[in-house]
């Protein structure tokens, strides 16, 4: 009986958390279908913003840019970050605390300062502004997240399983792919999702490093604060959420990253 009650309470709690998380998102999606350009009630259903979106080349193109960059960023950052997390957490070595501390500056220093520094440095070294520079920047900002998230799992899990595999005669690469990787997979997936989110929502670096005429979605949204933040932005955000939900559901069907049980 007690267990039943705790079970109900537990689910209720999760439900409340989800309500909190989705409250503004639901509102955001509602406004995408509302007539008022100034986000005023009463609510009148209208699809004008979605129609406007279709002809809004700039917004669509910038969304595409964001997507491409985010995908590239996710791949690179997840691979490099996972490798680094492994290197940091498998062994004890003297330089380790220093290397871990070095992950802090990219998270601590306001992105504005990192952005301006990158801008100057890239100009000075001839790397210049462009999609490649944006990618360089995004990966740099994503790496600490990936390393910390994957590292969390490694710290909890410890090297014992791998050591056991080694004593049973497995080569290091075998031990990794057959033992470590499956256990790490959920956190690698989570880190990848992080990296994608960091890049897809990244405004400051993209703002400074994008060449004129090229834009990403967050930059469009931010600069539209000046001109007029219309519900077209809600429309595209709604589309993005729905598409992401769809993709995630498909991925979840084929890949369990909640773990075995």
């Amino acid at each position: 009986m007690a267990r039943h009650i705790t079970s109900v309470l537990a689910r209720l709690y999760l439900a409340l958390i989800l309500v909190f998380l989705y409250l503004p998102i639901v509102i955001m999606m509602t406004m995408a279908f509302n007539t008022s350009p100034l986000y005023e009630f009463p609510f009148e259903f209208n699809l004008i913003w979605f129609k406007a979106l279709i002809s809004n080349e700039r917004l669509l193109l910038s969304s595409l840019n964001s997507l491409m960059i985010a995908l590239a960023n996710t791949l690179v950052a997840t691979v490099l970050g996972t490798m680094a997390a492994l290197g940091l957490n498998r062994y004890e070595f003297r330089a380790r605390p220093l290397l871990e501390l070095l992950l802090l500056p990219p998270i601590t220093i306001p992105w504005l300062i990192i952005g301006v520094s990158m801008l100057i440095f890239f100009y000075w070294t001839g790397i210049g502004r462009g999609l490649h520079s944006i990618l360089l920047g995004h990966v740099a900002l994503s790496l600490p997240y990936v390393i910390i998230v994957v590292g969390t799992r490694l710290k909890t899990y410890g090297p014992t399983l791998e050591e056991a595999a080694a004593t049973l005669g497995a080569k290091p690469s075998q031990a990794f792919w057959r033992v470590t990787f499956p256990v790490l997979a959920p956190s690698i997936m989570a880190a990848a999702l992080f990296a994608f989110a960091v890049s897809f929502d990244q405004f400051v670096i993209s703002y400074f490093l994008a060449p004129p005429g090229v834009s990403t979605l967050p930059v469009e949204i931010y600069t539209s604060i000046r001109k007029g933040f219309t519900p077209e932005i809600n429309a595209i955000s709604t589309l993005i959420i729905l598409v992401s939900m769809g993709i995630m559901l498909v991925v979840a069907r084929y890949y369990r990253f909640g773990g075995e049980r």
Binding site: P24, A84, L104, I107, L112, I113, A190, D201, I240
Partner: protein, 270 residues
């Protein structure tokens, strides 16, 4: 040095070098230029003459506008981080231990999904929720709510990763040896999930200190914090040295806090 140690070092370098080289090129080197600037009277751009001065660093300690807002930001960080973890940990625990099968994936994804919405749009949506009868808009707590909302998924995620990898058989063994559920939790689960909690603290506390968007949109008159102050040195005036100095002071404070906490952390993370 034996062959095994050399192999180990080579292994470490091979694994960590790519990421850290990337960071060096894109973050550390550019930031070192900023460190240099922070000790100059003005940014040496466009033919400006600049002299060495520690004035910007001193300004942090002597001028109320800087240290008071730094304190405000740290205070905000503490509130947001502790509240986030307070709400996130039970959620992560429930998700990791009580929910099984497909439900777990589905809920996990639902928690992560808000990441994909644009932060600015979300924050604007919060203005609509908090306006009117709720009357919370343009108050300090509006900022807190907005930030908790933005960072809660991080906390749930990191705690979940940690909790989920704790072997259930350990708990079962403890229970069979006579430990009560609460004891098992306090002496086994909680300590073993510390890496997740620590990761959550780092990923939340640090960015919150420098946040400027939620304060600006949700805070009204209460918006002034360190983040906007630093931004102003780049966007409202041409005072990069001061902005850089303030940022590095914050970095130093964060490092000090971590160093102070490290004996405790090292024990937990063994």
């Amino acid at each position: 040095m034996g062959g095994a140690a050399v192999r180990q070092y080579r292994g470490i370098i091979a694994l960590t070098a790519p990421a850290y080289l990337w960071l060096a090129l894109t973050v550390f080197l550019p930031l070192s230029a900023m460190v240099y600037f922070s000790f100059l009277t003005q940014a040496p751009i466009g033919g400006r003459a600049a002299e060495w001065t520690p004035a910007h660093y001193i300004a942090f300690f002597t001028k109320e506008v800087y240290w008071r807002n730094a304190w405000r930001s740290f205070e905000l960080g503490i509130y947001v981080t502790s509240l986030c973890l307070l709400f996130a940990y039970p959620a992560a625990l429930i998700l990791a231990k009580h929910v099984k099968g497909r439900w777990r994936e589905a809920l996990f994804l639902l928690v992560i999904l808000p990441f994909w919405s644009n932060a600015l749009v979300r924050t604007f949506s919060w203005t609509m929720v908090l306006r009117g009868d709720v009357g919370l808009l343009f108050t300090y707590w509006a900022i807190v709510i907005g930030l908790i909302h933005a960072y809660l998924p991080y906390a749930i995620l990191t705690c979940y990763i940690s909790l989920q990898s704790i072997d259930d058989t350990l708990i079962e063994a403890a229970r069979s040896l006579g430990a009560s559920p609460v004891q098992a939790f306090l002496r086994l689960t909680l300590p073993l999930s510390t890496p997740g909690i620590v990761a959550g603290v780092i990923l939340i506390f640090v960015p919150v200190i420098g946040s400027f968007m939620e304060p600006r949109i949700l805070g009204g008159k209460n918006a002034i914090m360190l983040g906007p102050l630093i931004e102003n040195q780049f966007t409202a005036v041409f005072n990069w040295p001061l902005g850089a100095a303030l940022s590095f002071i914050i970095l130093a404070i964060v490092l000090l806090i971590l160093l102070a906490a490290s004996p405790f952390l090292r024990r937990q993370l063994q």
